[in-house]
C-alpha cells in the first residue's frame, strides 16, 4: 500500500512544483514592467547601472590632488594577469630619511578582467572600481593608463 501512496504522492508533488514554475514564468510573461534588459544606446543618458557593476580601476584623489597609495605593490601581487605595474621612487622625508613612495601607477585596461582582487588587496583603500564602460579606442596604446594624476602626492597620515 505504501508503494501506491508513494507513487501518487510523487505525481502530486511533481505536478505541483511544475505548476509553480509555470506560474512564475507566466507571471513574468504577462508583467513587462519587470524586464531588466536596458536598451543601451537609446537610454545612454538615463543609464541605470547596478551597484556592483565594474567598468575600470581608478585611483581616488581628493581636492588637494592627494591620493592614498603608498606604493606597497599589494595590488600588483594580487593581480592574476599582470594588469598593474607599480613604479616606485624614494622620497626624502623632512627628517632626512629615504622613504619609498609611488611614482607611477600603470594600469593596462586591455588586460584587466575586472575581478576586483586589487581593490580587495589594497591596505589603504587607494583604488576602487569605477562604472565607466565605454572604453573602445582605435589605438591599443591608449588603453595603458596612468592612474595617479600628475603632481599628486600621498595624503597625510596614510602609511
Amino acid at each position: 500500500m505504501s508503494f501506491l501512496t508513494n507513487y501518487f504522492s510523487t505525481i502530486y508533488t511533481s505536478v505541483r512544483s511544475l505548476l509553480k514554475g509555470m506560474w512564475k514564468t507566466g507571471y513574468y510573461f504577462t508583467h513587462h514592467k519587470e524586464i531588466i534588459t536596458q536598451n543601451y544606446p537609446e537610454n545612454r543618458d538615463s543609464l541605470n547601472l547596478p551597484e556592483r557593476f565594474r567598468g575600470e580601476v581608478v585611483m581616488t584623489h581628493n581636492e588637494e590632488n592627494e591620493h592614498r597609495c603608498t606604493g606597497c605593490t599589494a595590488c600588483e601581487l594580487a593581480c592574476p594577469n599582470g594588469t598593474i605595474k607599480i613604479v616606485t621612487k624614494f622620497d626624502i622625508t623632512p627628517e632626512g630619511k629615504k622613504k619609498k613612495a609611488l611614482d607611477t601607477f600603470v594600469y593596462h585596461l586591455e588586460l584587466c578582467t575586472m575581478c576586483n582582487l586589487c581593490v580587495e588587496a589594497c591596505p589603504t583603500g587607494a583604488i576602487k572600481m569605477d562604472q565607466a564602460f565605454e572604453h573602445s579606442v582605435y589605438d591599443r596604446r591608449l588603453l595603458t593608463k596612468k592612474l595617479n594624476r600628475p603632481d599628486s602626492k600621498l595624503m597625510e597620515g596614510v602609511e
Binding site: M22, K24, F29
Partner: protein, 358 residues
C-alpha cells in the same frame, strides 16, 4: 460569405473543366505542394520569432527589437543569412545520406500536413484513417534523424541520433494511447468525424477527467516526440554540442530547424483537432445568442487560435523546466505515463460503453 473552402472548390471545378481529370489532379498536386512549402516558410518565420519573444519575456528580457518594426524582420534576416551560408559536407560523411536526411525530415512534415483540417471543409486530403495515417507517417521522421546522425560521421551526432530515436520510439506509445482515447469516444479514425462529433462541445469538456488526463499526457508525449526542452537530450548543448545536426550548416541546417517548428505546429494542430474541437467554434449548451456570436468568427481563426495556444503552452514548458536526465526521461515514460495512459484508456472505454459522456 466568401470562405477558403469556396475558393478551393471553384478552383477545383475550373481545373476539372479545363484539363482531363488526371492532369487536373497532377496540377493540384503541384499547387498544393507549393502552397504547403510557402506555408512552411511562413510558419518558420512566425514561430521562430514567437519563440524568441516568448523566451525573452519569460526571462525578463526584451528579445529581438532592432530589425524591422519591433524586431519582426529578425527571422527574415536570419533566414537570408542561412541561405547565403555555405552548406558544408564533411569529408568523412556519407555524402548521399548526409544531403538527403534534411529533405526526408521535411518531406515527412509535408506528408503530415495532408489530413489536417485548417478550416470548415478545407483540408488537403480527407482520408478516412486520418489519425492512423498521422501516427504512421510521423514514425518516418525518426529515420531522418537517425540518418543525419549516422552519416555525419561524428560521435556527437551519432549519440544525439541514438537518444532522439530511443526517445521518439518510447514516447510514441503514450501519444498513441492518448489519441486512442478520443478515437474510442468518437468511434472513427477520420479527423473530419472527430471534429463533427464536437459540434455540441469539445472533448476536453465533454469527456470528464479521463480526457483531460489524456490531453495532458498527449501534450507531454508530443513535447518529447518533437525533441523540445525539457526533453531535448538529443541536442543537449552542454553534452552533445548540437546533437544530430552538429555537422550541418547553411540551408541544410535551416531545413532541420524548419522541420522542428513545423512538427510543433503539426502536433499542436492535431491536439487542437482531437481535444479542442479543431475549427469548431466554442459552443455552450443551449445559450443560443452566445453560440451565434461565436459562429461569426471564421473557422480558420478558431483553428489557428487553438493551435497557437497549444504552441504557446509548449514554448512555456521549454522556458520553464530544466532538462531531464536520460534515466528520468525513461522513468517518466515507462513508470508514469504509460501505466497511467493504459488505465486511463480503460476508463475512457468504460465511459464510452456506458454513454456517460455528454
Amino acid at each position: 460569405m466568401l470562405s477558403i473552402a469556396e475558393i478551393a472548390n471553384s478552383l477545383q471545378q475550373w481545373l476539372m473543366a479545363t484539363f482531363s481529370p488526371g492532369w487536373a489532379t497532377l496540377i493540384e498536386f503541384v499547387l498544393v505542394g507549393t502552397l504547403v512549402l510557402s506555408f512552411f516558410a511562413f510558419l518558420g518565420l512566425v514561430l521562430v520569432f514567437m519563440e524568441r519573444k516568448v523566451s525573452a519575456y519569460m526571462q525578463l528580457r526584451v528579445g529581438p527589437n532592432r530589425v524591422g518594426f519591433r524586431g519582426t524582420a529578425q527571422t527574415l534576416a536570419d533566414t537570408i543569412k542561412l541561405v547565403v551560408k555555405e552548406g558544408l559536407t564533411p569529408d568523412g560523411a556519407d555524402k548521399f545520406l548526409f544531403n538527403f536526411a534534411p529533405f526526408l525530415v521535411l518531406i515527412t512534415s509535408m506528408l503530415l500536413m495532408a489530413p489536417i483540417a485548417f478550416a470548415k471543409d478545407f483540408q488537403i486530403w480527407d482520408i478516412n484513417i486520418g489519425v492512423l495515417y498521422i501516427s504512421a507517417v510521423s514514425s518516418i521522421s525518426v529515420i531522418g534523424v537517425l540518418m543525419a546522425g549516422w552519416s555525419s560521421n561524428n560521435k556527437y551526432s551519432l549519440l544525439g541520433a541514438m537518444r532522439s530515436g530511443a526517445q521518439i520510439v518510447s514516447y510514441e506509445l503514450s501519444a498513441g494511447l492518448a489519441i486512442m482515447s478520443v478515437v474510442i469516444l468518437v468511434g472513427s479514425l477520420s479527423l473530419n468525424d472527430i471534429i463533427a462529433s464536437q459540434q455540441n462541445g469539445w472533448w476536453i469538456f465533454k469527456g470528464h477527467i479521463p480526457v483531460i488526463i489524456s490531453f495532458v499526457i498527449y501534450i507531454i508525449a508530443v513535447t518529447a516526440e518533437t525533441n523540445r526542452a525539457p526533453f531535448d537530450l538529443a541536442e543537449a548543448e552542454s553534452e552533445l554540442t548540437a546533437g544530430f545536426h552538429t555537422e550541418y550548416s547553411g540551408m541544410k541546417f535551416a531545413l532541420f530547424f524548419l522541420a522542428e517548428y513545423v512538427n510543433i505546429f503539426i502536433v499542436c494542430a492535431i491536439g487542437a483537432t482531437l481535444f479542442l474541437g479543431g475549427w469548431m467554434p466554442l459552443h455552450i449548451g443551449s445559450w443560443e445568442g452566445f453560440n451565434h456570436i461565436m459562429d461569426f468568427i471564421p473557422s480558420s481563426v478558431w483553428f489557428m487560435g487553438k493551435t497557437f495556444f497549444l504552441i504557446f503552452v509548449i514554448m512555456w514548458f521549454r522556458w520553464t523546466f530544466p532538462r531531464l536526465r536520460i534515466d528520468q526521461l525513461l522513468n517518466l515514460e515507462w513508470k508514469y505515463l504509460l501505466p497511467i495512459s493504459l488505465f486511463n484508456l480503460l476508463l475512457v472505454t468504460f465511459i464510452a460503453l456506458m454513454g456517460w459522456h455528454f
